[in-house]
């Protein structure tokens, strides 16, 4: 994947330097929580949230699904550690790095750009920094992580990455500011 970018009134950039793993497991289980925490060193995220530490991100996808994101360089080590920590537990851990595409929106107006494409309340009180949500961007499913007040990560499926990139480039076209 190429790290394409577009400078509109918000900057759009593809970030292919991340590996992603899907963990299907009972997230309410203390054993699972402990295993994930020990292998990643990241606090276990509560419902609707992300936790980040040392470049590793844990995102709450559903009551039994966790998304683990880590820079490619750290991926193999993390995977080995996770597999060891989860040994013997009823889980399914799959590498989905190639199945997903990640984009980063940055700029002062990231929230309203999200508001053009996702039917979600992007107000800071409703979607504070650290929040994670699965929704749709126009016609495709995706996930959004509010990393910083002016930085949002977007995750979508690989097959529609061109659509999603074009979608956000279109939404950040200069002159189309909503300016709430």
């Amino acid at each position: 994947m190429s790290d394409r970018e577009f400078q509109g009134y918000v900057h759009v950039r593809q970030d292919s330097g991340q590996c992603m793993f899907t963990l299907r497991a009972n997230l309410a289980s203390t054993k699972i929580k402990a295993a994930v925490k020990s292998a990643t060193g990241v606090a276990f995220p509560n419902r609707g949230l992300c936790e980040v530490s040392e470049g590793c991100t844990l995102a709450w996808m559903s009551p039994d699904e966790l998304l683990i994101m880590v820079p490619t360089a750290q991926a193999q080590k993390l995977l080995t550690g996770l597999e060891a920590a989860l040994e013997g537990l009823h889980v399914l851990l799959e590498d989905v790095s190639d199945a997903r595409a990640k984009f980063i929106l940055s700029g002062a107006h990231v929230r309203e750009v999200l508001g053009k494409l996702a039917p979600m309340d992007c107000h800071p009180a409703q979607f504070p920094v650290g929040s994670f949500n699965r929704t749709r961007f126009a016609q495709v499913a995706g996930a959004v992580f509010m990393e910083q007040e002016d930085l949002i990560s977007i995750i979508c499926f690989r097959s529609v990455q061109d659509y999603v990139f074009t979608l956000f480039c279109d939404a950040v076209a200069p002159g189309s500011e909503v300016l709430l």
Binding site: M1, T22, R24, A25, D64, H90, V91, L92, E94, D95, V96, S97, D98, A99, R100, E112, G115, K116, L117, A118, P119, M120, D121, C122, H123, Q126, A138, Q139, V140, F157, R158, S159, V160, D162, Y163, V164, T166, L167, D170, A171, A173, P174, G175, S176, V178, L180
Partner: protein, 1003 residues
């Protein structure tokens, strides 16, 4: 003559003149004008022609309710028909043209329709065009189509940008008049998020025009101060040029922002559709003045009284030198006073009320204006412009008492609250007898998700015609809305409004009340669709008693203005004709949007490249640059065939089949669904999902499996590989990946939630390549890595390893009947892997092949394809797949269904091969013709073709089909339908045309 005044014009900037064209004529206007104001300033009262009679029509209103002044706006990619001149802001370079006339606006040959109006009564179309039947298609329809529609359809692609915006708030206030401002201010004070929208470019609504004072200051000052107060609050979003267009369930509302209609080409989107979710909606949408129904009320120059006032006060435009005011209420006196004050003549005010009005009448008399009480208009004189009026007694039948010359008639029949948004989602109305209007019934609001009302109507729209009451209402309801939406109660002061006391109006539905047929047939109700008082009366006489029926029969209110001026007058006429009260007739249904909004705004970003997401495999771009002829498959684009220079699609497909059978082909199979199923109960689960047994599959091995719905019908198939003790990988069809993944999740979540099974869809994680053909193994061995020999990797086995340096998983499976490997690599490396295979395969004659080649090869082998051999009514037993249905299992999805008498029965249409006697191809979907006819007189059938191709391998047409008791009828010859030709004879044969022993893949 209409012209620009030297005085007045609060909304225009005289320092900034603009130039525009109307029907090619260059005209001048000012920044801040509406197009209607600019046209009037250029003495262009005639703005269009009516729909049915092509009558000359001038502007009648000053806002969104305008029925007449519709224009073709813009050119080429910026062209839009039926734009209202009253809501179009004039800008430099604007191009406008009038519509619905031939050859010119001034002279229209179709105006003859008006002369034959008595032959074109209500329901004319229904009565006329049904006889003779044969005339419809060739005579009537073409003529009606040609005369239908007002504006021209755009020819060029829309050049502008449009977008959506999802907005969430607690309280949405629609309407930026004084009531809307007050409601927003009160709600905002509680701290909740407030969205305030106003459809025009200006705030304050009618109050500044009507001379309202608030808090002791002119309304304009209070409006500016309130707006400034709202603007600094960070919990308030305010937008002008944004119409609250529709209210829907659960607090969903649409607002239509016209961002750059008035500044085209400045790089901004043209429209933005706000998709609002809120807890409470306050509509402060004002009221619309009603016309009066008198003969000739459609002649250009007859206008609503408040509109006349608007043009003078807001735009400094005089609609004419001499204006006769005709009214049934006090408000219209303001127009007379305004005109007089602007130095224009008001020869007479005709007040239909015998007792006349109050303070405002006294002011008019004091200003020296003649006032006639109990009088009305018998008939307006003039053709393309008003030249005078004939006065009569309102109580009489229209005997002319006097003729007065004038060039404008300002009429007022009272006010109708704009209750549209209240009604969109089910709010009910009550008839206010005193004010002769429908207003919202506060006891029957539209209900939200919590079962409580979520829309409130305030101000004029709630029937409060006086500013003090309107402001008090707005403040109270703004606070109540905020409280209902979770705001903290906070006391805020209510602005005090002052305006002149008014006496009640007297309802006047026809002028004069006893008007003769001749007058009634010239008294217009619906100006755009040409519906007159006499038409509605005829509808009632002919039995159309329901208002909804009468509407459709007469087309009253069915024009682009949706009857904003005509509805109440029309149903009052109907109620009188039926001799029932107005509320018993009821209203027609108000539906969103409030005024027409652009189709492009509804599409938003979904046009051109973004019209539909296209799913691409990792090798998509390679295919594209190697002659791919694309085929849409479940959102993906797959290559149908790779065209070489000079080849037709058919030739390419035939070449690909032959090359793959004889040498080596590559297939991009990445779209196939790949679902990992894992857990202690995974085997048990898959035994439920598939008709065959999956729990006893050995690790390292593959098995073809079938999936049925609970109704027994086959709906997906694919190869399942057992990975380890607790893990299986299920391949699905390309179209089935998401569906089957969801299907598995559904059963795990909702039926067997105590089973320990996890499922992950890894379809897009892997690029999968089919390496197919007699040279397949040679290629893989050349690249080196894992052992792909028949001994180590036999047919229907899989193994992990490395090929040419790529970590991969290789499956020995074949859908083509050839020696075949399917090799999965991480998607990010898919393209590299593909290119390596292409390069290394050159010496073995490698060629990529597409989906049609795949289809032909599988048909030659008699393999079924989901969607060809199945259509949701076919069970596996119909396809000879009994071998894949486990008899050992107690249960699987579809098992119980297949035990039903009509499924557990050989007397069905079953799969066979078909060979035409002449070698031609059967038509896809062709039916086998049986003896006799059915109850409908149709020829009986006994089978149909499900797949049919020209097989290059066989050198002839081959087909598969479902035939009644087919397998038992081998060798029989059937006749198959062929569209437009004689039936084709075909013999029933085995569906396995190629390599019936299955030796080729198993080497």
């Amino acid at each position: 003559m209409s012209t620009r005044l030297a005085s007045h014009g609060r909304l225009i900037n005289r320092a900034h003149a603009v130039t525009f064209t109307f029907n090619g004529r260059v005209m001048n206007g000012f920044e801040g004008d509406t197009l209607a104001a600019s046209l009037l300033a250029n003495d262009q009262m005639l703005m269009g022609r009516s729909f049915k009679y092509h009558r000359p029509r001038g502007v009648v209103a000053s806002g969104g309710e305008e029925p007449n002044a519709l224009i073709n706006l813009g050119v080429e990619g910026h062209f839009e028909p039926n734009a209202r001149a009253t809501t179009t802001e004039t800008f430099n370079g604007l191009t406008a043209a009038s519509q619905n006339h031939f050859p010119t606006l001034e002279f229209d040959v179709a105006a003859i329709n008006s002369k034959v109006a008595r032959f074109l009564p209500a329901g004319f179309y229904y009565k006329m065009f049904i006889h003779p039947r044969s005339f419809w298609k060739h005579v009537y329809e073409p003529i009606i189509r040609k005369s239908a529609g007002l504006g021209k359809a755009p020819k060029a692609r829309d050049a502008d940008k449009y977008e959506h915006f999802y907005h969430f708030c607690e309280v949405m206030v629609v309407g930026g008049g004084i009531a809307g401002l007050q409601a927003a201010k009160t709600a905002a004070a509680t701290g909740v998020r407030v969205l305030l929208v106003e459809q025009t470019a200006h705030w304050g609504g009618r109050a500044p025009v009507d001379g309202v004072r608030i808090e002791g200051m002119p309304a304009e000052e209070w409006i500016a101060a309130t707006l400034a107060d709202l603007a600094v609050r960070n919990n308030v979003v305010i937008r002008n040029r944004t119409q609250g267009s529709g209210v829907y369930d659960h607090g969903y509302a649409l607002a239509y922002e016209r961002i750059s209609d008035h500044t085209p080409g400045d790089g901004r989107p043209r429209h933005r559709l706000w998709r609002v979710r809120c807890k409470q909606i306050v509509t402060a949408t004002g009221a619309i003045e009603r016309p009066l129904s008198f003969a000739g009320n459609d002649i250009p120059g007859v206008m609503l009284a408040a509109a006349v006032r608007d043009y003078v006060v807001n735009f400094g435009v005089s609609p004419g030198d001499r204006t006769v005011v005709v009214t049934n209420n006090d408000d219209a006196y303001r127009t007379a006073l305004t005109l007089k004050q602007a130095g224009l003549e008001v020869p007479v005010i005709l007040d239909a009320r015998a007792e006349g009005g109050g303070i405002l009448m006294a002011e008019a008399l004091a200003a020296g204006i003649r006032v006639e009480l109990g009088r009305g208009i018998a008939q307006v004189l003039g053709g393309k412009r008003v030249t005078g009026v004939q006065i009569c007694a309102q109580a009489g039948e229209g005997s002319v008492l006097e003729e007065i010359a004038c060039d404008v008639v300002a009429m007022s029949g009272g006010w109708s609250p704009v209750v549209h948004l209240w009604s969109h989602c089910g709010g009910k109305l009550i008839w206010d007898l005193d004010q002769a209007m429908f207003r919202p019934d506060p006891n029957q609001p539209p209900l939200g998700a919590d079962g409580a009302g979520f829309v409130r109507v305030v101000g004029l729209a709630n029937g409060h015609l006086r500013s003090a009451a309107a402001l008090a209402d707005a403040a109270a309801q703004g606070a109540a809305a905020a409280k209902a939406a979770g705001g903290k109660a906070k006391k805020t002061a209510v602005a005090k409004g002052e305006d002149a006391e008014e006496l009640p109006l007297a309802p006047v539905w026809l002028m004069p009340q006893g008007a003769s047929y001749k007058l009634r047939s010239k008294a217009w109700l619906d100006f755009q669709n040409d519906v007159k008082v006499s038409d509605v009366q005829l509808a009632a006489q002919e039995g159309f008693e329901s208002v909804e029926h009468a509407k459709r029969y007469t087309t009253l209110g069915m024009a682009t203005d949706q009857g904003k001026l005509s509805n109440i007058n029309g149903l009052a006429i109907l109620s009188k004709a039926l001799n029932v009260d107005i509320p018993d007739v009821g209203t027609t249904t108000f539906r969103p949007p409030y005024t027409p909004i652009s189709m492009a705004s509804l599409a938003g970003e979904a046009r051109g490249e973004l019209f539909q997401p296209i799913r691409k495999t990792p090798m998509h771009d390679w295919h594209d640059s190697h002659g791919a002829d694309w085929e849409p498959v479940a959102g993906w684009r797959r290559t149908y065939a790779y065209l070489q220079p000079g080849e037709s699609v058919h030739q390419a497909v035939q070449r690909e089949v032959i090359n793959t059978r004889e040498k080596l082909g590559l297939l991009d199979a990445s779209t196939l669904g790949k679902i990992v199923v894992k857990g202690p109960d995974a085997g048990k689960f898959l035994d439920m999902m598939y008709t065959n047994m999956m729990s006893n599959l050995k690790p390292g091995r593959c098995r073809y499996g079938l999936m049925c719905s609970e109704n027994g019908f086959l709906f997906d198939d694919g190869v399942v590989a057992r990975i380890d003790e607790q893990t299986w990988l299920c391949h699905t069809t390309s179209g089935g990946a998401d569906r089957i993944h969801a299907h598995m999740e559904e059963w795990l979540q909702t039926e067997w939630w105590d089973w320990n099974v996890w499922v992950v869809n890894i379809t897009e994680q892997l690029a999968q390549v089919g390496v197919v053909g007699p040279n397949a193994r040679k290629l893989l061995e050349k690249l080196g890595g894992m052992d792909v020999s028949a001994e180590t990797l036999p047919f229907m086995a899989w193994a992990d390893g490395e090929i040419g340096g790529f970590a991969c998983r290789a499956y020995r499976i074949s859908f083509s009947g050839e020696l075949s490997y399917e090799i999965a690599v991480p998607a990010n490396r898919g393209l590299e892997f593909w290119e390596m295979l292409m390069e290394a395969g050159a010496e073995f004659g490698v060629m990529p092949y597409g989906t049609e080649c795949l289809h032909i090869m599988r048909a030659e082998k008699g393999f079924i394809m989901i969607g060809d051999e199945t259509d949701g009514t076919v069970i596996p037993q119909d396809l000879g797949l009994n071998w894949a249905i486990s008899k050992k299992k107690d249960d699987f999805l579809g098992k119980r269904a297949q035990q039903r008498s009509f499924m557990d029965n050989p007397d069905r249409w079953q799969l066979v091969g078909l060979e035409t006697l002449d070698g031609s191809e059967l038509e896809d979907g062709a039916y086998a013709i049986a003896v006799g006819t059915n109850a409908n007189g149709q020829t009986n059938t006994e089978g149909r073709v499900t797949s049919t191709y020209h097989s290059p391998t066989m050198g002839r047409g081959i087909a598969m089909g479902l035939v009644h008791n087919g397998p038992a009828r081998m060798g029989e010859v059937l006749s198959f339908t062929k569209i437009g030709a004689a039936p084709v004879k075909a013999k029933i044969v085995s569906q396995v045309f190629y390599d019936p022993e299955g030796e080729k893949p198993n080497v």
